[in-house]
Symmetry: C2
Subunit: 581 residues, 2 copies
């Protein structure tokens, strides 16, 4: 992480406000401390959360044993306030730093970390769109996580298509609204770790018109808040059920019933969708982070097992001749598996940190190019990284053989937990649609052209540099394939939109590989530079280069296959009439 | 299935003994009846088995509610005896027919079907290697499933590397052996559905030498069997624990403790590994079948959901204008997802049925070429089909969005159950090793050359046939890539074995796609022939062609990526020293 922060992203030299404080001794102290909390407090509760799950009794949700104490420890350590606004009690660190710390916590215990993650999302929504009075009333408590937050979008009959929403908001004489309807899949919707829960609810208020146009955003607290900040009456919102899920058992996924609950409008009437959309970059980046963070912890476990478990002999001769067998890691196919995990995780981390730094540049410096670029990247980071993150968690499980299938090993949980990241915050097919149907053409295609140019410039910068050849050459080929796909979409997609949309998922993956290829090229350059200057840990930097060469040689060739699939167009996909399936 | 049996495999015209009886009216009756049992008896118990799991109390394993009655129904219907030897009460149908029926049952309830599946494996081992007295004593009861069977290989410290085995067999004066040791991951090791359980146990008997050489195969019944066939004393074998697993909860995965249990040698002393290997083709084919069967049932569910769930509008204009939204299936990316599932399942079914017919040709007609060919195919069928089967079950789950993550939908179970098939009967990395390290060179490379020639001949047969062009052209390209990979292994692998083994997993997938491409080419030819003759269901046959064209256009391009990865050789994979990970 420090290599990324200081050698690749050149923090603190960057002129983004707040980055100047992030010198290596500071980031080291924060990350080491986060690692301590993660390994000592959060990781030991990961299996407990999976096994016990959450229990709903008489309307109260009981979280797994130990969660409440751990939550108090997180609050006491100031971790929930890390990158929040100092005006409301936050520490004001850049989002980049919150992202790095977030990876550590998510890898240790994804289900647990969602309670504060959702709160952070609700905090951001109120901070961006709330009135001054709302900010003063809710934000300090939410920054401290004395009150947690939720996001209520989905209903039983609609997830992606929010235009079908049925939850209604009736205006009252006192300026409040009565909210009535049912929301489902509400993470952290009800639990026993906070004094109050601040629900952010999308609902239709009268007069807004059909579809998503009538949707507004409301604050609906579990307990109404008095003017002096003390808690008042219980609001008419309750948890009707918690879902039995494939994973993230430690987080309560609730059916929330709003029975004429009192709510207050956040932002403009009938502009609720827009308010949600401004939140989306951070939320989706957070899910993309969950994808690789689960792969990261699964990899750490698989690696330890591969070094420890003795089975078979290296085909080139015994490497542990005094033992009964060699460790698994001698076998080329185990090595391939581990290298795929390692090179993905390190590449995805670089991409995520880079995107976080773009968000900082956008928010803290008003950098519009950075904002446009990150908005283009977000569906790739969310879709590609969660697909691959799950795939890598499954591959890590495979290293354990039969033991990986047994819950006791913990490897199943990493895969089961990682699975949700492909679905929530917009299923990955929706990310692909967002990328190809919306982001490529955004602002006249300005951002995608800027990205293409950036990759081209990166390739050109290493022209003639023999040591960078494995990186620059592979990136060049892949980037041309990405551009050819973009060109195909422009030409074929003009005639028939299905021709572009049938290739959207492949394009998301193609661009994901190019993004990771770009990151590996930059990491290689930074590693070589650091080595040349005689700084840093030589073994670490050389491992970085070898890992990068693996990614370029063995993963970028997938781009050609994605392009070939894209160029077959709509026909193979759409030829069969629905009734002939 | 009938299209495959009668139009592609040309049953009953084949001259394999027993195939003559398989006319369409007979196969239709059998398959329809199997479908009835599967949907009425087995499928309703699938979620029950997952939810309840198996419980160990006082040494007795209780199977989920309803399992025992269903097992009795399977026995009463004669399903357990379908392809068994009539000498022992079997119905003597070809293995091909047992395979077709097996898919139906496995799709309906994989965990349940394992009880009889394991019994069938043990039956085959005793039938092939047992003495006449052993056959007479055990087989009739096992064919009827009054007694079930198990296979005991794995120990806590060894799975793949059986040379490390510690379970010992001490010869007794009466010709029996005393078996002592612990076996783990024993599917159906203990349960309450049969009068007796016949354990087949690998153990080391004195004098065989180091490693796998000393291993012998033993029959260890739960209850000793008297000469008159009645049950005698309880043997010293017991279930010490059942594992908590990611899936197949309805099947008891047992730790089996052998505390000086009485066992009898099967086959030759110290030739236990060879005895196990002769069983392997059928066992691994069965697991490859589990892979696509889980994808098949997941696909059926995803398809129904995609036709039913209304969300969003088709980009080309509303297709359900009177409804609030269009069904999911109008969206190109949902269509892509469904087509990937459908084209894989139908291709894998064809490959599996073809392999089953090769086993019949080998066993019933002594066809050595068929035996060599199927032995080459087995690691591909096991490894590729279970990888893809799991991937497709996960994709099917994705169609459901958030609902797919909720256990109530059943989609999680299909993925969790499918996951084990990538691991047991030799983890898929071991399949790749078997393919590249052993099967390619087997009998001087005769079988792989025969397979290459077979694909070449298939391509040539359709030369100039415009309707077959999408199939023949794609198959030609992919088969050349497969041959180039084979050539690379021969050349580079000569110098360094790691160069071949680092590409083994990619080769398994490359060959898997070529196999499915070959199957789709044959299915297309059969569909066109049937259409030309004015026979069959026109809509069905045209859907077959469209599905095949999808596979050729959108999946075969992956072969190029696999070849590119293979040709990078050992360096990217092996460059990093183990301690630098």
């Amino acid at each position: 992480m420090q290599f990324l922060l200081h050698e690749v992203l050149k923090v603190p030299a960057s002129d983004v406000p707040g980055y100047g404080d992030l010198d290596p001794s500071f980031t080291s102290a924060v990350l080491e401390e986060a690692g301590k909390v993660a390994s000592e407090v959060l990781a030991p509760l990961n299996a407990v959360g999976d096994r016990e799950g959450c229990v709903l009794e008489n309307g109260v949700v009981r979280t797994p044993k130990g969660f409440k104490d751990a939550f108090e420890a997180m609050k006491a350590g100031g971790w929930t306030a890390l990158d929040c606004d100092p005006d409301y009690g936050g520490q004001g660190l850049p989002y980049l730093m919150g992202t790095a710390v977030g990876e550590v916590f998510v890898a240790a215990n994804m289900a647990f970390n969602m309670y504060q993650g959702l709160t952070h999302g609700a905090y951001s929504a109120i901070r961006t769109h709330g009135s001054d009075a709302q900010k003063a009333m809710y934000l300090p408590k939410m920054v401290a996580c004395d009150w947690t937050g939720t996001m209520n979008l989905t209903e039983p009959h609609c997830g992606t298509d929010l235009g079908l929403m049925r939850t209604r908001a009736e205006p009252q004489k006192d300026g409040s609204y009565r909210i009535t309807g049912q929301k489902i899949f509400i993470s952290a919707g009800e639990h026993d770790m906070a004094e109050n829960i601040i629900h952010l609810v999308l609902a239709k208020a009268p007069g807004g018109g059909e579809g998503t146009k009538g949707i507004s955003l409301f604050i609906v607290p579990k307990f109404l808040v008095n003017e002096d900040g003390s808690l008042g009456a219980r609001n008419a919102v309750s948890c009707g059920k918690i879902e039995e899920k494939m994973g993230i058992h430690g987080n309560a996924t609730c059916v929330m019933n709003y029975d004429g609950a009192t709510g207050w409008l956040v932002g403009d009437l009938h502009k609720g969708m827009r308010a949600m959309f401004t939140m989306m970059n951070e939320a989706r980046l957070g899910v993309g982070l969950q994808g690789y963070a689960q792969a990261e912890v699964a990899y750490q476990n698989a690696l330890a097992y591969a070094k420890d478990r003795l089975q078979g002999r290296a085909v080139t001769g015994a490497e542990n001749p005094k033992g009964p067998a060699d460790p698994l890691i001698v076998h080329p196919d185990i090595r391939r598996n581990l290298m795929e995990q390692k090179s993905f995780v390190e590449g995805a981390r670089a991409l995520t940190f880079w995107a976080a730094s773009l968000i900082d540049a956008s928010v803290r410096s008003g950098d519009e190019a950075a904002e446009g670029l990150v908005s283009l990247m977000i569906p790739v980071i969310k879709g590609f990284q969660t697909d691959k993150g799950f795939e890598m968690a499954v591959q890590a499980q495979q290293v354990y053989g039969g033991h990986g299938y047994i819950e006791e090993s913990g490897m199943s949980q990493f895969a089961r937990d990682a699975r949700i990241a492909m679905i929530y915050e917009g299923a990955n097919g929706v990310q692909a649609l967002d990328l190809v149907g919306r982001k490529l053409a955004q602002d006249g295609g300005k951002h995608v052209m800027a990205f293409f140019e950036m990759v081209k410039a990166e390739v050109k910068a290493h022209d003639g540099d023999e040591r960078m050849k494995p990186f620059a050459d592979a990136l060049k080929v892949a980037s041309k394939q990405m551009q050819a796909a973009g060109m195909y979409f422009m030409q074929a997609g003009m005639k028939t939109p299905n021709a572009a949309l049938a290739g959207s998922y492949d394009f998301m993956h193609l661009m994901g590989h190019v993004c990771l290829g770009l990151m590996w090229t930059r990491m290689a350059k930074a590693a070589l530079g650091t080595l040349d200057e005689g700084r840093g840990d030589k073994a670490f930097l050389e491992a970085k280069l070898a890992t990068g060469r693996f990614y370029m040689a063995r993963q970028l060739p997938l781009c050609g296959a994605h392009l070939a699939r894209i160029e077959t167009g709509a026909d193979p996909v759409m030829a069969l009439p629905a009734e002939a399936f």
